[in-house]
């Protein structure tokens, strides 16, 4: 028998993924063996330390451009940039997740399976020590995201999709308050997410039939030369795109977003809105640019239509929302639409502007959800918009921060929201997609209304008897909100360093 040829593995390039996977496994061991009292600090330090170590490795490997481990993983400019972005946003979300001073025991329950409303459950809700499994779960999700944006064949991408999704389904169900809402959100997310995964797999199967392989390069070559029926190619691409567009919450695959964002614990919502979005768009960019470049003229109008639909659905429905978390969910749908405009631009600026937008939006949305977690009354977070009336009189600093974030979402100059919309629309005009820019500008004006309504409500309404108090945040939430606001401001005032970085990072390896 001849010698077995194991594929060469570039461990240094893969180290961020491996570090996070190892840290998550260690987290499970800590959960099993550490005494209950020590678990929370140990897990928090472990998770953040692991993410920082992975981030350091990403920075050290910044010049690597390699396809490794049997063509399964491509470490190139976009994947390194996206991995760095996911890790940075992940560290900030871990700060939000780790906050324990806002309510006794933190925002997660230890035993999510207890019957809601039972005596045990009520005792648990009153401040029993919180869940610490969230840290290994979040780190598993992060490592899946790192692999997701770097996957160079569709099966690896599918595995990564599952590794990032399964922990998220669990995380959604762990809210301490409003348990039924939280569990409903988790179940919905799980069921719809499974359907989306199935669509993805069907697409992979059809593309395998078309190209004779699942590798992205193989598909790219087959698109140029294959003799097989084009039905397989187009149906495969469509099913694959449905799976990916579900994860990034593009219309008409967005229906899970408001319910899940509302029901999940706020730190987890922040984590999903920032990191999952980066990962989903990273994978979408890689699939469309590396594998399907040859049929870009065929899918461009379709994805463009989805982008317009997403922007319209997100912005119009945001106007009718009465709950701040649902409002931010529809805003995240609309932002997915703007990001898709960058994706369909199909040029190098398209990639770099999408990368910039993802980072800028991630930091702003983290800070916004951080603020949402601070406005509380006796029943936990007060998320109904009417409760926010007059908040500016009670706590001007918090209201000012939230006003700034809302203006950033609306795209006012000197915030990152303006620059990111500007570069994305610029790339689309260069790519000859000006109809998307028209739709983008019109919907931006529509969605500015709900943002401004929140601002008006906070500052110009009289505080009612029931206006909730603003809790004094612990250092972790303060740090997360501060980092988010600072990044939003900095990327709006001096965007050029990050723009240069995204420009350097915008070439995929083949």
């Amino acid at each position: 028998m001849e010698d077995l040829n194991l594929p060469p593995i570039d461990y240094a390039a893969l180290s961020p993924i491996l570090i996070l996977f190892g840290v998550a496994c260690l987290g499970v061991l800590v959960e099993a063996f550490a005494p209950r009292r020590a678990r929370h600090p140990v897990q928090l330090v472990l998770a953040i330390g692991g993410s920082v170590a992975a981030l350091v490795m990403v920075v050290l490997e910044r010049n690597t451009r390699v396809v490794t481990i049997g063509d399964a993983v491509a470490i190139d400019g976009p994947s390194l940039f996206l991995q760095g972005a996911i890790l940075l946003l992940g560290i900030v979300s871990l700060l939000l997740i780790g906050e324990r001073s806002l309510e006794a025991g933190g925002p997660f329950v230890a035993q999510a399976a207890l019957t809601v409303g039972s005596e045990k459950d009520n005792r648990q809700a009153q401040g029993a020590p919180g869940n610490t499994e969230i840290y290994p779960l979040a780190v598993f999700a992060l490592s899946g995201m790192l692999l997701f944006v770097a996957a160079n064949d569709l099966l690896t991408m599918f595995i990564a999709l599952e590794v990032l999704s399964l922990p998220l389904y669990l995380l959604c169900a762990l809210a301490r308050r409003k348990r039924l809402l939280s569990q409903e959100a988790a179940l919905k997310y799980f069921l719809l997410g499974s359907y989306a995964s199935a669509f993805f797999l069907f697409g992979v199967a059809l593309l395998y039939g078309y190209a004779g392989g699942v590798n992205l390069q193989q598909i790219n070559e087959a698109v140029a030369a294959s003799q097989n029926s084009d039905i397989l190619l187009y149906a495969g691409l469509a099913l694959l795109a449905i799976g990916l567009l579900f994860k990034v919450a593009a219309a008409p695959f967005h229906v899970w977003t408001p319910d899940v964002y509302q029901g999940a614990p706020t730190p987890v919502t922040a984590f999903m809105a920032a990191c999952t979005k980066v990962a989903g768009f990273g994978a979408l960019l890689r699939v469309l640019y590396v594998a399907f470049e040859g049929v870009q003229w065929d899918y461009q109008p379709v994805i463009g239509t989805i982008a317009v639909l997403t922007m319209i659905v997100g912005s119009v429905l945001a106007v009718t929302q009465q709950d701040i978390k649902r409002l931010l969910a529809y805003s995240s749908i609309a932002n997915a639409g703007y990001l898709l405009v960058g994706v369909v631009a199909q040029n190098r600026e398209g990639v770099s502007s999408t990368l910039f937008y993802l980072v800028a939006y991630g930091f702003t949305v983290l800070a916004a959800f951080g603020v949402v977690s601070l406005v509380r009354d006796a029943d936990g977070e007060a998320t109904h918009l009417s409760r926010w009336a007059g908040l500016g009189r009670r706590s001007p600093l918090l209201a000012a921060i939230f006003t700034f974030l809302m203006l950033a979402f609306a795209g006012i100059p000197l915030t990152s929201g303006f620059i990111s919309k500007f570069v994305v629309f610029g790339a689309a005009i260069d790519g000859g997609q000006s109809w998307l820019v028209v739709a983008g500008v019109v919907t931006s004006m529509i969605i500015a209304f709900p943002y401004l309504r929140v601002i008006v409500m906070m500052w110009l309404s009289e505080p009612a008897e029931t206006t909730p108090t603003v809790s004094v945040p612990g250092w972790m939430t303060s740090a997360a909100v501060f980092i988010g606001v600072l990044a939003t401001l900095a990327l709006g005032v001096v965007p050029s360093p990050l723009l240069d970085l995204t420009n350097d990072a915008s070439l995929f390896v083949r």
Binding site: C25, Q227, I231
Partner: protein, 150 residues
């Protein structure tokens, strides 16, 4: 199969042409599924035909003797309803079973070849890592007290 240059005219038209010729001639990649489709169709027809004939021919005179709708328990009088609740903790054993099943699915083919020349220490180490990750799950379950029946 269509000619090799099928991709070069405007792609939309080509897709339509390819589709119609493929369906027309029952050849090509999708054509090979036509037999399967016919088989499924025939199966459905036989099923519908058999049950339809049965329905037309049989006498329709149902009796309602006592105990007809009681759950069947091999001749013993059933205890309780047939919507009995399962003990929820069985699901944990189902999980653990899956853990072992997945492990053995990969262990068997590996056990056949790992000692062959050419498969060195790296292959053993890889399987060791795989089993260790799965063992982590069992350790966790054990420490959480899942394995004791209280």
């Amino acid at each position: 199969m269509i000619g090799a240059n099928q991709r070069f005219p405007p792609p939309g038209d080509v897709a339509l042409v390819t589709m119609s010729t493929n369906l027309g001639r029952m050849t090509g990649y999708l054509g090979s599924y036509a037999v399967l489709g016919l088989l499924l169709l025939a199966g459905a027809l036989v099923f519908v035909g058999a049950f339809g004939a049965n329905r037309l021919l049989r006498p329709a005179n149902p009796a309602e003797p006592a105990g007809k709708r009681v759950a069947y328990e091999s001749g013993i009088d059933p205890v309780g309803g047939n919507w009995a609740q399962m003990q929820i903790r069985y699901y944990v054993y189902a999980f653990l079973y899956v853990l072992f099943a997945v492990e053995s699915v990969f262990l068997f083919p590996w056990a056949v070849v790992f000692a062959d020349p050419g498969y060195g220490a790296a292959v053993v180490a890889e399987m060791g890592i795989f089993v260790a990750v799965l063992a982590l799950g069992i350790v966790y379950a054990w420490r959480k007290g899942v394995l004791t029946w209280s």
